[in-house]
Amino acid sequence: MRLTYPHMGNLGIILKALFEGLGGDVIVPPPITERTLSLGVQYSPEFACLPLKINVGNFIEALEMGADTILMLGGVGPCRFGYYGQVQREILKDLGYNPKMVIVEPPQGRFKDFLRDLASLFPGLTVGKVVDAVKLAWEKMAYLDQMERALLVFRAHEAYRGAVTNKYNEYRDYIDESKDPKEVKALGLKVIEEMRSLTVPPVEEPLRIAVVGEIYFLIEPFPSQDIFKELNELGVEVDKTEYISDYVLSNIFPWKLNRIKKEARPYLNRVIGGHAVNTIGNTREFADKGYDGIIQIFPFTCTPEIVAQGILSRMSKDLDIPIMSLSYDENTGQVGYQTRIEAFVDLLLRRREMGSAHI
């Protein structure tokens, strides 16, 4: 069995550690490129959301490399994600591939079932092996998240263009290769310091923007043409509302969502699927924390985020904070939203100047 799964930011590194630790033969799909995208677009339904299309591209490229088993998450709606795997299976079938598709249906909060499903893929498992694999994957997740958090701040002040990004990429590879949780931790802590040392302190108080929106877009930079980097390179410090550990933990412990649901309530009364309730709740939180602006990113046709988008435009007025919504499809080309993002940053700068002039 040669196992593969779709890319989503650094999740691939974490899953590789987990599955290899469990004794699996893992084929990591090649990094997402224009080819991945165009393969996905060519074979997916026109109005499917972009993550589905990129998944399909990942699968095709991994199958070309000899993968024969695909691991995918399922779901019970109301968002489309729960049906992704079903449609993807049919698409691959028509292309003449016949991979085994293992679609893990997550009855919310029942991590045990998830583990059992997984175990069936890896014969010869021992408890010790599982513990080691989970420990390594967990540590990678924790430190990759921390690194990324630091990246999104330090890169705004890097000494020269690319300095921090390169350092981050270099260490991410080390972490990917490491088989030792202790080493992962040491690498993680070290790179944060190294990234810090590659910055120059900003002259003025930097702008801070929070990026909210659809989960795949928050975790995987490709489809937004790495809006995080783009903002950083305009000197803006960025925080995003979801990192991989948030995603994983809220799947295992659904009550983690309760706080956010409460925050969202005045504007959105219930969970409506996808991450809309997070988008709304987090926007309130970040507005309270004094961020200068909020940017919502999501795939074109993403139903939950479209609802959120409508609500955000009201919140922007109520909470007096600029909010910009950007929806992406495969045609949002390289220069796509660059001008809009620059204009938004200018607006925030002007607001700030006007604000201080009032004092």
Binding site: S44, P45, E46, F47, A48, C49, G74, V76, G77, P78, C79, R80, G82, Y83, Q86, V87, E90, I91, D94, I103, Y267, L268, N269, R270, V271, I272, G273, G274, A276, F300, T301, C302, T303, P304, I306, V307, A308, Q309, G310, I311, S313, R314, M315, S325, S327
Partner: protein, 326 residues
């Protein structure tokens, strides 16, 4: 003075209007329906919703604005989460009242009754209905009666639909009009798949049913099929389709294909619709693999031109007729 409740003639109006109307009437309220979809309603809707929203949601907004201008006391914007066990509606229905409140200012208060049968008809459902009933009366007996009357009306309505009537005919019959079902105008049986708010709103789909009739076809929709037929079709797929109307489309599409009760199928979806993007793919794939019954897919949005639809439909009907001859 009776309290006036406005009901938007959009979205699930086509599926539940008789029940809603009876419910409010029994509570002593007068029901005001928004006008039929027209250009102004579409334009108002487009203007007041986010660009990314699908046409049906934009049209719904237009109808809410139409009601606002007609002096109603309340507007009924239910939050319809689920209309049957273990299945949902599209996320947009779940957030509809929130979206309306956030987007349209100065409207009469919204009655945002939550309809959630995901776990079956239980105490919470009752409590929610009572909450809404109490806007109109303190008399619990009256509320219970209204509830029961609504359920009866809904059952009648669905019976009419199963008998082959389309919503506007069934609604007229229930309001006392005599409707004589027009004799089958054509030899060709056309399966018409799509959400009712897409296939039954004559304005946004350029009256597709009439066009099919004019070209010599009779329409069969999912509503007219037996539940067991839909179940048969839906169960051909390994995973239960968790959207109610998605499942209907998928199941009806598959049943029509396997049973061959139709000569051709027309599937209508809204531009940018999330759920339908996947359902349509699943339906179409099977039709293409078998290549026995032709399928025509039409996408509608606010810019859809009548000419385009006519040309494609006409060509499609010609193809079916030609197939018949061969």
């Amino acid at each position: 003075m009776d309290i006036k409740v406005g009901i938007p003639r959009a979205l699930l109006y086509y599926n539940f209007y008789p029940a809603w109307k009876v419910f409010f009437n029994e509570l002593g309220a007068k029901v005001i329906l928004s006008q039929k979809t027209n250009k102004k309603i579409v334009d108002d809707g487009v203007l007041n919703t986010v660009d990314e929203a699908c046409l049906p949601v934009k049209v719904f907004f237009g109808h809410v604005i139409n009601l606002k201008d007609r002096g109603v006391d309340y507007i009924f914007v239910p939050r319809i989460v689920s209309v049957e066990k273990r299945r949902y509606l599209c996320a947009k229905f779940l957030g509809l009242p929130d979206l309306i409140r956030a987007s349209i200012r100065d409207i009469p208060p919204i009655i945002d009754m939550e309809i959630d049968l995901y776990r079956g008809y239980n105490r919470n459902v009752d409590r929610e209905i009572d909450r809404v009933g109490m806007i109109f009366t303190k008399d619990m007996r009256k509320i219970r009666k209204a509830k029961e009357a609504a359920i009866i009306a809904q059952n009648n309505y669905e019976k009419h639909l199963k008998s082959g009537l389309i919503p506007r005919e069934a609604i007229r019959i229930m309001e006392g009009a005599k409707v004589v079902k027009a004799p089958d105008s054509g030899l060709l049986k056309i399966g018409l798949l799509g959400h009712n708010y897409n296939i039954m709103d004559e304005y946004i789909n350029m009256d597709i049913i009439k066009k099919i009739n004019d070209f010599g076809g009779t329409v069969i929709t999912a509503d007219m099929l037996k539940e067991s037929d839909i179940e048969y079709g839906a169960s051909c797929y390994p995973k239960d389709m968790f959207w109610t109307y998605g499942r209907e489309m998928l199941g009806a599409g598959r049943y029509m294909l396997d049973s061959g009760i139709v000569d051709g199928v027309v599937i209508v979806t809204a531009f940018g619709c999330g759920p339908d993007s996947l359902i349509k793919e699943m339906v179409e794939k099977e039709y293409k693999r078998r290549n026995t019954i032709p399928i025509l897919s039409l996408t509608i949005d606010e810019h859809t031109g009548e000419a385009g639809i006519i040309t494609r439909l006409e060509a499609f009907m010609d193809l079916l007729r030609w197939k018949e001859v061969v």
